[in-house]
Symmetry: C2
Subunit: 268 residues, 2 copies
């Protein structure tokens, strides 16, 4: 297997890949970066449309790297060998694994059609940290949430940190960004109840009211859910806490909430 | 309020503070760094023994910064004003908040005496990422876990990233590092049952067996709990997952586990 080599940092593929670290260019090109062997394997298994592959010689010779490259070549995806220092300029991590894919961002309309009508959705309201957003998507998918909808103030879905901490869940679950009003109109159309996570809310574990179809709203790290979503809430619910404990990390709270919803049989 | 000024990077306090970014020197000096206004407020509220304070002029003039400095001066803690670039060398974050405390690491023996005999403990088995360790400590405290015990392969409790993501829980909950055998002997002495989190374990939500006094063991990010802890397990329990979902972030799994334990009334 002999790959074409890229040796100049001015190569068009390298330049495109570097630009995809910025949201503006991800939107312009409709593409994003997937980094590392494991995520690449997940992207291939999920049959994500791929644009091109950049790999170091060492990664291409490793057993798993070789399989990734072979699978991509078989699908006609252009694969290029390049040098570690050139790849490191694109990598969002301190230690690049020497393998990087550029993939198409799924089309919002196609994602929207995949949103189930029953079960439980998760709405993220101005969750600004991409690592948190990714971790929430990962937990949501594991628990059986049907889709994750992000409003305008959230971190970008295709930020490399979101992609990495979602660990493949992003390739399987419908995840899309919409305006608050669009989200609300979808929820109304689906006749969903709305539960808003709020520190001052009723104890989640005491509340016997929750039923599907349901939408959970999780608010911003520092300030919680906005007035817009609080006004729409059928219930304000919070996690009980030890006296003296101030708050939970939002990704931790999300995990508890989606699994409590699963335990109650609210997932499809 | 006029503070002594530090202007040289070779000042002994600055050098000591810089050295505390490394575990070796934290152990040598028995001290660690607390960064940012909010954590400083929590440290003061928890009456943590403090060694000294470094603050920029801007932070010392802010309302909350002024209160922190006043509270420290009142307790006889030396406070120094220094310049942002000097403080940035010690900061573990990209944007230092201009305020940094050096505090005594609590003595392991004193921590050990605070471990409750009933309720639920959490054992971390080779959890390597300091952000995860901190987040787990934060969730554990919020849910009502009585103490968190870390074995030898874990991230350092006083790593600045652990301190930051624990968000004050570290100042309130007994958290200490012990060898596996020491932990086990403590659990035996307290006649605790041992539940080990394992992907292949029985469904946590189905299991009706759990009862206090209990110890939960959470294993390493990639490989799960060690054979040592699996052999000690009264139960291997896991979170149910959607088909296709591979795993949860360990901090997310920890949050679900400690809150399910709380829901079942296993906390003190």
């Amino acid at each position: 297997m002999i790959l074409k080599r890229i040796t100049s940092k001015d190569n068009a593929y390298l330049k495109l890949a570097r630009s995809l670290l910025q949201k503006k260019y991800r939107q312009q090109h409709g593409a994003f970066i997937i980094e590392g062997i494991r995520l690449a394997e997940e992207a291939i298994a999920a049959v994500l449309p791929l644009r091109f592959v950049l790999v170091t010689e060492a990664a291409a010779l490793s057993p798993r790297g070789r399989q990734v490259v072979a699978a991509c070549l078989e699908r006609g995806v252009p694969c290029f060998e390049t040098e570690e220092p050139l790849l490191a300029q694109i990598s969002d991590t301190q230690h690049s694994q020497g393998l990087l894919l550029a993939a198409d961002c799924p089309l919002p309309l196609a994602q929207r059609e995949r949103i189930p009508a029953d079960g439980c959705l998760l709405i993220l309201d101005r969750l600004a940290d991409p690592g948190n957003v990714g971790s929430v998507i990962r937990s949501a998918y594991a628990a059986g949430i049907g889709a994750v909808l992000l409003n305008a103030g959230c971190a970008d879905i295709y930020n490399p940190k979101t992609v990495r901490s979602a660990m493949g869940a992003l390739f399987k679950l419908p995840v899309l960004s919409l305006a608050d009003e669009q989200i609300l109109s979808l929820l109304r159309q689906q006749r969903r109840r709305i539960a808003v996570s709020a520190a001052e809310g009723e104890d989640l574990f005491q509340c016997q009211c929750l039923r599907a179809p349901l939408a959970w709203v999780l608010g911003a790290e520092a300030t919680g859910a906005s007035d817009f979503w609080r006004r729409q809430a059928d219930w304000l619910l919070g996690l009980p806490m030890t006296v003296g404990a101030e708050s939970l990390n939002v990704a931790a709270a999300a995990a508890v909430i989606v699994y409590e919803s699963r335990r109650r049989g609210l997932m499809v």
